[in-house]
Symmetry: none
Subunit: 204 residues, 4 copies
DNA sequence: AATGAATGAGCATTCATTCAT
DNA sequence: GATGAATGAATGCTCATTCAT
């Protein structure tokens, strides 16, 4: 996925890099960057610590790439779901996807939330922040439901993303998680409120 | 105990502890626990490092107390706002308070969001998680607006809190922050959706 | 005991000092100087840490005095036993006393053994090293058994003390301690060897 | 493992570890574990502090290995001496070896004496305590001299070891040390006493 | 391409000691 | 006589990073 399919077979590319990616996704997703050391990642990947620096240059750069990879995973799924013919089904499915993702990689939610905080850049000149990519997908779907003023779109999408992310995060942390349907409904109340107060999109 | 009212002037009582609290709020609120060292806190507080341990026992215990203090600050304001006669005004004011708080102590949002993740307990047995205290306040207000099934309440309140927290967090990180009113509206669309689909509370 | 009986009653002398002495004997005897902090001693004595410095000046000075006190305790008992009419009974009793003492205050043996090592002085300008006081008592008894050349006396007494101390120390550390009688016999074999190779003392 | 015989020159292999060992033997032998810091050991070894942790994992583990190494040194010499054809010569030589060792590494005696005290284990699960290895060697020699009941053997050997260790320790600390011969004689009086009261071993 | 030995700055924590009250 | 708040030097340890091979 990361390595766009070349025409040539590319025998093994970088086995070490792949293993490091896998180990990082697992460890970072579960415990976050600060709680994971380069030693541990290398050990679980079954390579030497030096290999991390050979392949990625620094811990931060590696984290950046892993984060991007995780974001790509999530966004790809969201984008696919966003094409469902019925936009409200699309949103519901997208929220459901978010719940699954956060359950699998709990600390990604936390990282994305804090990602904008960094004053300079830690893991990141980070091409596009995750939330931007997600909210623009959300906006596309919303645009198929109601007519919103331009300056309303981003805040509405942000609210939806925040509600979904936080609900999912809490559900993942809970011993006996809330009913998934109830959470989806709660998040989608935002759309209900939108519809109740805005003009619906007329199909051309 | 420390502040037992003496008849004598009591020049500066436990000035050190207060200074440490202030420095911690500032530093922790801005950069989060991992990014702040005991040295730095002590230095900014103008006391020696040993004083931290004399007064708090450990870095974690200190952070726990500071976090609790910050939570108390926010919750107290929210509770006060929740008593406004018009429940929708109350919610709007509460969201506004959250925005201000997050702007002042950006990393608190992040900490609270990740607070449930900790398997055991890092900064103590943390009486009640912040989100619980906040959502129960939100629920009180919502109960004055619509009639909700018991199992719907917590998820709805969670969604509202998540939307507000995330929006506020993003606004705080942004160079040219979104219009506050637009954010408030977006968060409150959840309430709009609620009203559109639930029976309103009848005033006796 | 420490305060040689004055003619005047000496109402309470220093209650704090006594409590510190008691706590120190207990803690130091069990765990040794390095493993015990001033905080802990003060806490168990039920006084403030400052009181230690008020009464003793420093941790080392306090330890020195406690060590001396412990040595006085042991030596007093040994001296008393040494007056038994039958010198071999005296030696056996003295060894038995050593076993009891080491069992009660295990780390005293260790401290006394390392006491001579200190290059300068840690806890001490320590009047007379414990081993000197003990061996001179041993020598007095031995002189009643056999005739020894002057330069033999100290080494023989040292060997006896070492054998007794080490045996006692090991017994104290053992889960199911060796039979006390067997230990006493083993130590006293030194005397047996002496008698077998030296002229017995003729009573005038 | 570290020293697997390579065909290639192997310039300096694990020079750091060796240097750390040498420095530790010197420093620990002279002043004991508590009085020596990791910084100091690393500095004298001419490596960085991190190297200690890279090679040994912790200060305690390093001390454990150094202690074991020292014990191996002593025991190896004792075992060799124990094979002398004349058992009493063997014992005398062993005592002499102990004196030399203690003179060179004064604090080892102290550590070994206190080694059994540790409730849990500080420097590791310490394979076999030194005193056990030494006394079993002593017992082998004694068995060639007299017939002892099984339960007498350990206490007698312990007394001999204690007498030798303590005498050696005192001699090492003394400004003008006692005559070595006199000390050896004193320790060996235990054997004299044994012979005087027990049946000698009959040669086949 | 990969390794692993080595580094050193940074960190949380301990503890004997001081001193104003 | 006694206290307890405050100190600061010292310590064991972690970890991202470098580099010769």
């Amino acid at each position: 996925m990361t390595t766009s399919p070349n025409s040539r077979p590319r025998t093994r590319a970088t086995a070490s890099k792949k293993r490091l990616f896998a180990a990082s996704m697992q460890l970072l997703g579960a415990r976050g960057p600060n709680a994971v050391s380069v030693d541990e990642i290398a050990q679980i990947a079954g390579v030497s610590k030096g290999t991390v620096y050979y392949n990625f240059g620094s811990k931060d750069k590696m984290i950046g790439q892993v984060l991007e990879f995780g974001a790509d995973m999530l966004v790809a799924e969201l984008v696919e779901a966003s094409t469902l013919s019925e936009p409200r089904d699309a949103l519901r499915t997208m929220a459901s996807i978010a719940i699954d993702f956060v359950e699998k990689y709990p600390s990604f939610a936390q990282i994305w939330i804090s990602e904008q905080l960094r004053p300079e850049s830690d893991w990141g000149d980070q091409i596009t922040p995750v939330y931007t990519r997600v909210t623009s997908t959300i906006i596309e779907v919303i645009d198929r439901i109601v007519v919103l003023a331009q300056e309303e779109k981003q805040p509405v999408a942000t609210a939806i993303f925040g509600a979904a992310l936080f609900s999912a995060r809490l559900r993942a942390a809970s011993a006996n998680p809330e009913n998934r349907e109830t959470i989806l409904n709660s998040v989608l109340f935002i759309v209900g409120g939108l519809i109740a107060t805005h003009e619906p999109v007329t199909d051309h």
